[in-house]
């Protein structure tokens, strides 16, 4: 992999993944997007293991866009695992879901999600939501410097 992944998109819906990627590229917000189609692949990616053991904790994506209803391991479990490990807990995670359940919203915040976005049903609004997500998280938010957490962890903080 010559370019670092900027966004990990965890999405099992092929159309939603396609729309999301197209919107991010059209507005030049991210080129290097890795799609994980289930929660298990997302965790392998983030924890640099399995098919992704060549990756490094010091180069996390700037953003994880996380669907909730996923094969194998659901989105909430992925979020819980990310927040439970020092090496991954600071990675920005935005839930992007069609769920309208208040329970999911509350659980998401309880588990420490960075932000929570409901997928608009309508195509234009979906693209606009993705654009706003990309604008804020790729251009305005300051991600951690590469390796900061892995390093500060090694120092024993």
């Amino acid at each position: 992999m010559s370019h670092k992944v900027e966004i990990l998109l965890v999405e099992d819906g092929v159309e939603d993944a396609e729309l999301t990627i197209r919107a991010l590229r059209r507005y030049k917000l991210a080129n290097n997007i890795h799609v994980a189609e289930d929660g298990a692949d997302a965790l392998d990616f983030l924890f640099c293991r399995g098919a992704h053991e060549g990756r490094r904790f010091s180069h996390p994506p700037k953003l994880v866009l996380l669907d909730l209803k996923l094969p194998k391991i659901n989105g909430m479990e992925v979020l819980r695992s990310i927040r439970a490990d020092e090496r991954t807990k600071a990675i920005p995670v935005v839930v992007l879901t069609s769920s309208k359940e208040e329970r999911d919203l509350v659980t998401g915040y309880n588990l420490g999600v960075s932000a929570y976005v409901q997928k608009p049903v309508e195509f234009e609004q979906f693209s606009e939501a993705i654009r706003q997500i990309g604008m804020f998280w790729m251009l305005i938010n300051q991600a951690l410097p590469p390796g900061a957490f892995a390093a500060s962890n090694a120092y024993g903080d």
Partner: protein, 157 residues
């Protein structure tokens, strides 16, 4: 208070506060903005005590915009107190600071900040940054449902 506060702006610089409020209002992103000029007042506001004893936890602001260098109680201490209490820990907090210290960035993420934005020095860019923050956090992000955390806390207790 007839209208709920949408944004708590914790900012000791009158000029930065003025610019921020103007950018939010001009773009119709928030009307009800409360400014706390130091960390102690911010905590009184968020914990519904002192001069803000008539507020209720169930009417939390949708967003806290938090400067770091503040009189009395620092921004990171405000963040720490918010995240340590069940009633306030889900409130979205975005740090907006002129600090360029990597240490502040790392500490912010360690303490569970939702996002971290650096104040641009240039006037136009500052306004644009505030607009992007407002677009995402007021229009796209779903805030925690009012009272959900207070309620789930009360049920558990």
């Amino acid at each position: 208070m007839s209208h709920d506060v949408e944004i708590l702006l914790v900012e000791d610089s009158p000029e930065d506060a003025e610019l921020t409020i103007r950018a939010l209002r001009r773009n119709k992103l928030a009307n009800e903005i409360h400014v706390a000029e130091d960390g102690a007042e911010a905590l009184d506001f968020l914990f519904c005590r002192g001069a803000h004893a008539d507020r209720e936890f169930s009417h939390a602001p949708r967003l806290v915009l938090l400067d770091l260098k503040l009189p009395k109680v620092s921004g990171l201490e405000v963040l720490r107190a918010l995240r340590a209490d069940e009633r306030t820990r889900a409130i979205p907090v975005v740090i907006l600071t002129s600090s360029k210290e990597e240490r502040d960035l790392i500490d912010g993420y360690k303490l569970g900040v939702n996002a971290y934005a650096q104040k641009p020095v240039d006037f136009e860019q500052f306004s644009e940054t505030v607009r992007q923050i407002g677009m995402f956090w007021m229009l796209i992000n779903q805030a925690p449902p009012p009272g959900a955390f207070v309620a789930s806390n009360a049920q558990r207790a």
